[in-house]
């Protein structure tokens, strides 16, 4: 197990380094540079000087080694725009926002998906089942940013129950944090919940056929106990398997939904960076999005072993 974890950890680092390296070289292979765009017309000598200061006059492989060295010290450079704030600071402020959003989205998704999936399985081919099936398809087909927009129109603009945009850190209290994140979490969590609900349904159907469920019923356990303790626990194993895949959806959802709700998380930082051609910021954001992504997949793999002790890695 330890050996497996170490190997997986190192592979994960390699994937992140691979992405960072590809992005580094591709950004420099594409014609046109931001400094040229910013300064060349105004003052060519200033552009030259700034380029030298930023090391952009060096060969690309030298830049890469220097960049990698600084990166290992946690230095991701400075933003090219505004007051040239350091990228690490911008990203450091963004990460908790994105993590809060994905965390709450997962909760929302599970809160919808587990009851829906269990009910569908218990009432297979009933009207309830078809209803949830249709909604699962709808949840997967609806753009998350559109759902976000609809939620803003209904709950923020018309009913005025929740704030439409922005973010409040947890330090300002649980309610401000929660109320700002609830609508975006529903917007990102819905597509995620569709996948989980479908998986819960088919896993439950499979498990309910098993002999140990018959035994549990036969020995007179209450239906609720059989379903929640005996069936659900075993049905959760394949569900956790798809969590890893579904998390992909959640992360890409967060990137776009943050922009709908003006939450300055990694997604918004990344998109603003792209729009401004702020390369150091883009590089940093990509690095962090990738890191969160790769390591949450690793976390899901470890989660299997906790839910199902029969699974062993070596």
């Amino acid at each position: 197990m330890t050996k497996y974890l170490i190997r997986r950890f190192l592979t994960s680092l390699l994937v992140i380094l691979g992405v960072a390296t590809l992005v580094f070289f591709l950004l420099r292979a594409v014609p046109g540079d931001p400094l040229g765009a910013m300064l060349a017309e105004v003052d060519p000598t200033a552009a030259e000087e700034l380029r030298r200061k930023l090391g952009l006059d060096q060969p690309v492989y030298v830049q890469y080694v220097l960049w990698l060295g600084r990166l290992l010290q946690g230095d991701m450079g400075n933003s090219l725009y505004g007051s040239n704030v350091s990228v690490s600071r911008i990203i450091g402020e963004a990460v908790p926002r994105t993590l809060s959003l994905t965390f709450l989205s997962t909760i929302v998704a599970l809160a919808i998906a587990l009851p829906a999936g269990i009910l569908s399985a218990l009432r297979k081919n009933s009207l309830v089942d078809y209803f949830f099936t249709f909604f699962a398809f709808l949840g997967l087909s609806m753009p998350d940013f559109w759902l976000g927009v609809l939620l803003i129109i209904v709950f923020a603009v018309n009913l005025r129950w929740l704030p439409a945009i922005g973010y409040a850190p947890l330090s300002e209290g649980l309610w401000p944090w929660f109320s700002h994140l609830l609508l975006p979490a529903i917007a990102t969590g819905t597509g995620f919940s569709a996948i989980i609900a479908r998986m819960t349904r088919s896993a439950m159907l499979e498990v309910l056929k098993a002999d140990y469920i018959k035994v549990a019923h036969a020995k007179g356990l209450r239906n609720q106990v059989v379903i929640l303790r005996h069936a659900l626990r075993n049905a959760l194993i394949p569900v956790v398997t798809v969590m890893g895949i579904a998390f992909a959806l959640l992360m890409s959802g967060a990137v776009i939904v943050e922009n709908v709700f003006a939450i300055k998380g990694l997604g918004r930082v990344l998109i603003q960076g792209i729009l401004n051609r702020d390369y150091p910021l883009v590089q940093g954001a990509i690095l962090l999005v990738s890191t969160i992504f790769v390591f949450s997949n690793l976390l899901v793999d470890i989660l299997y072993t906790i839910i199902d002790p029969r699974i062993q890695y070596d």
């Binding site: 994937v15 691979g18 992405v19 590809l22 992005v23 591709l26 950004l27 594409v30 046109g32 398809f137 709808l138 997967l140 087909s141 609806m142 753009p143 940013f145 559109w146 927009v149 609809l150 803003i152 129109i153 603009v157 439409a164 398997t241 798809v242 895949i245 992909a248 959806l249 992360m251 890409s252 990137v255 776009i256 922009n259 709908v260 990344l270 998109i271 960076g273 792209i274 729009l275 051609r277 883009v282 990509i286 999005v289 990738s290 992504f293 790769v294 997949n297």
Partner: protein
């Protein structure tokens, strides 16, 4: 004697090769499924509306000559936007670009992905290694994130979005095809074909590829709906087409400053995306059942 002409002998019917008769069985099975048929009808309507946009749209999609943000009415079925453009006409024209990008990117990424998968699976060795290490890297991330990364590198705009989405979706095809090739490569009919002196290219294209067609078609359906969503997302974020071009994502994005005054600007373009993607997903689900393709997940 005359009826023997109109009713050919049964023997002749049986003489039809097995393949000829079974070729259309899937269509039969498809048409028996109500959701799939409904989805097919919706898709046909949307595609036709897009192709025939100049005939279908009552107004010029870019004419700014009507009232600002007028609610839906008989004259403007879906209302007008903040610049006084007819929303229905913009959404009809939007179908063109959204569907075009969805279909073209998936066709391109299918061709590239199939090619890479064939090469990797068929030749194995270092070819396989080089191709699959890259595919694995891309596979580690969701397609939309890859598309955003690529737009970050190539820059914004419609043609860059097409390139980005094409590249972002090819790993799914490459993995499926490589898996199929690996299992087909050692089958008797492939070995027999090689024994008769068929060249690699012929074996790959004539013998292996047709047998991998079903999962590729199912994947293509899934990918088209995902690609339409990706384009809409990128345009919504301002990374896609240039402003004023009507695409569903951009029309929706235009609505962002006017939530409190003009809900129709936000609701209808999103509805168009959802309806299209929902229909394609229903169709894809039916195809998956019919072709008996298991979901590729690992």
């Amino acid at each position: 004697m005359s009826h023997s002409i109109s009713h050919p002998p049964q023997r002749q019917m049986d003489a039809l090769p097995q393949r000829e008769r079974s070729r259309w069985l899937w269509l039969n099975a498809l048409l028996r499924r109500v959701p799939a048929v409904a989805a097919l009808v919706v898709i046909t309507v949307i595609v036709l509306a897009g192709i025939l946009a100049p005939l279908v749209a009552p107004y010029d999609p870019n004419a700014q000559e009507y009232g600002f943000m007028e609610a839906p009415s008989v004259a403007h079925w879906l209302g007008t936007d903040d610049l006084g453009r007819d929303l229905f006409s913009r959404i009809v024209y939007g179908a063109r670009i959204s569907l075009f990008v969805g279909v073209v990117t998936v066709l391109l990424s299918m061709i590239l992905g199939v090619l890479l998968g064939l090469l990797a699976g068929y030749y194995g060795g270092w070819v396989d290694n080089v191709i699959m290490r890259y595919i694995d890297l891309q596979w580690a991330f969701p397609n939309f994130i890859i598309a955003v990364y690529l737009v970050a590198v190539f820059g914004t705009g419609l043609s860059n979005v097409i390139v980005a989405v094409t590249l972002a979706f090819l790993d799914d095809f490459a993995r499926i095809v490589r898996g199929m090739v690996l299992s087909l490569r050692t089958q008797d009919f492939v070995i027999a074909s090689r024994a008769t002196g068929a060249r690699d290219l012929r074996i790959m294209l004539r013998h292996i590829l047709p047998n991998a067609a079903a999962p590729i078609i199912v994947q293509a359906t899934v990918s088209i709906s995902a690609a339409i969503l990706a384009e809409a997302g990128l345009s919504f974020l301002g990374l896609g087409v240039k402003p004023s071009t009507p695409t569903w994502g951009l029309i929706l994005s235009d609505a962002r400053s006017f939530f409190s005054r003009a809900w129709w600007m936000a609701v209808f373009p999103g509805l168009a995306i959802t309806l299209t993607v929902l229909s394609i997903n229903f169709l894809g689900d039916a195809l998956r059942d019919i072709f008996d393709v298991r979901e590729y997940a690992d």
